[in-house]
Amino acid sequence: MKRFINLFKQDTRVIIRSGLHYAVIFVSVMFIILINFVIPESLEVKSNEFFYDGTQGKILEPFLLAGGVETDSIFSNYDDFIGALEENGDSIGIQLEGSAENARFTIFSQNTESIKNINLEEAVLESILENIRGTVGPPNYRVENLREEAPPIPFNKNLIPVFLTYEVVALGFLLIAVMIFQEKAEGSIHAYRVSSSGTAIYILSKVAIFTLIAVLYGVITTVSTAGFNIDYAVLLLLMILASIFMTLLGLLVSIFFKNISEFLFVTFGVLLIMQLPAISYINPTFAPGFIKWIPMYPVLFGLREALFSTGKQNYLFPYLITLIAGIVIIFAACYFAVRKRLMRSGL
């Protein structure tokens, strides 16, 4: 333990003297400013629909106005209607002709809309027609929530788990590589390997310092953006485990390269794989099995649950099992790689 603490102090001093903490503080401040002052809580997407009411007696117009459609979007002249569509490339046009009994809608598409959106538009128009005809029946469906409905997550706050996963937690991956290449360049690793401190202490000291930095970085950022009313126990647990995993991964990869330039090529590939769960985060319906096995998946979704609880029960245990299993495997790989390539003759 004495040797671990000694090496931990040494590594801390080397990091502080290298100025790595300034980069961390800078990014943290930038993120806090972005979340609190730059990125809005919701993204209001203005509807760009234009309507031409060609019916006898203009039966559509009152329904549109009652539904909140602005008068600027409703045209009484067909040529003006087409002109507005031509001018606005991201618009969609809806024309209604005939009478209430035999009304006929025409959708003017720019050929950029998805089939899904066109189908949704058709369903909405059908509903409007039913309202015009007065044939609206009671709804033949109901919605039942599995648990208490969670308040919607503000758009800016929804980015916090992404930042914590790919900035805070992934920090150790890059910083440990910087440190390893610095030690390789200086040759200080040569001196370490003829001391009586072993491979495990070498690994654990570095993992401990980068995990500590990540936790401090993560907690300061979270408190400044999400406040105190969140599950910090789960947040800390996930950040600690994820940081350990990513730091070990960075160490494992950096061992096999001579300098940071060579390392960066592989880093792009590794980080790309680690970023795949972000697709599922943005679009939860896309969650194939292999993405769930990427260790960043449980981190990302676990952090979101810790920050914005949806009332899910027992979600943490499988996430922790995945992470702990990953750590055990990667620590064993790191131990043998460090022992063979750093503590022995090869560098």
């Binding site: 004495k2 040797r3 001093r13 290298s18 200086e186 001196a191 003829v194 001391s195 009586s196 022995r344």
Partner: protein, 290 residues
Amino acid sequence: MKGQYDMIEVKDLYHRYEKKDKYAVSGVSFSIDKGEIFGFLGPSGAGKTTVQNIMIGILGLQKGEVLYEGKSIREMKSDFYNRIGVCFEQSNLYSKLTGFENLRYYAGLFNVPTRDPILLLESVGLKGAAHKRSGTYSKGMKQRLVFVRSLINNPQILFLDEPTGSLDPALAKRIKEMIMGLKKEGMTIFLTTHNMYIADELCDRVAFINEGKIIAVDSPRNLKLKYGDKSVKVEYRAGGKLVSEIFFLERENDLDAFNKIVTGKKVQTIHSQEATLEQIFIKLTGRELA
């Protein structure tokens, strides 16, 4: 001879690096007595570092044996490093840490009583620079720091790799005196060098290594008696310059050349001299040490 050299025994050592056809080291055997300074002389690429790396356990044993007081290096645990000190030729220091911090943190990696970093720095004239970052040190200062770092854990066995290579004569003398002092304290020292003068001055015995094989092992004096030819150093004027040449008069070619210079040139001085270790090395291997 067996049993006389009981501190370190290297037996029939072979080592071949990956993807190399040729052995880097083959059939190397020698032994070192407790309290002895043993010089390991050879040119670059001769296998000196390979042998040392096997002896300190950072290269695995492939074939042969290294014994410390009869115990194989294979059986050594990490505590083995509490007993040895290694002074590398390269200045492998933490450049962001001060000289003092380099020693203090290195001391913390051992679980044996360690020396006072400030006293060690003082012993090599670095006390004044103790709190400056080692990255700002000159090459000679770094070498002195690496030297004292190898002493921090009071080792019983010291491995020195070119310990005076970058030092001016005054500092080199200081280091040599310290090495002799360590020997008096009973420390066993394995000195790897291609500097014959250092080896001649400090070593009780030396081993010549060339192309991975031991060529000769003995005390410098015995090697000179056994292999050294008497030589003559002549200084003469030629083309307005002072030229210095060494001739081995037992060799016919050298004798003819010597006679031509004595009769045809303006000779300034003639001195007879004992053969140096380098000359003996050249004689045995046909290669120069440097």
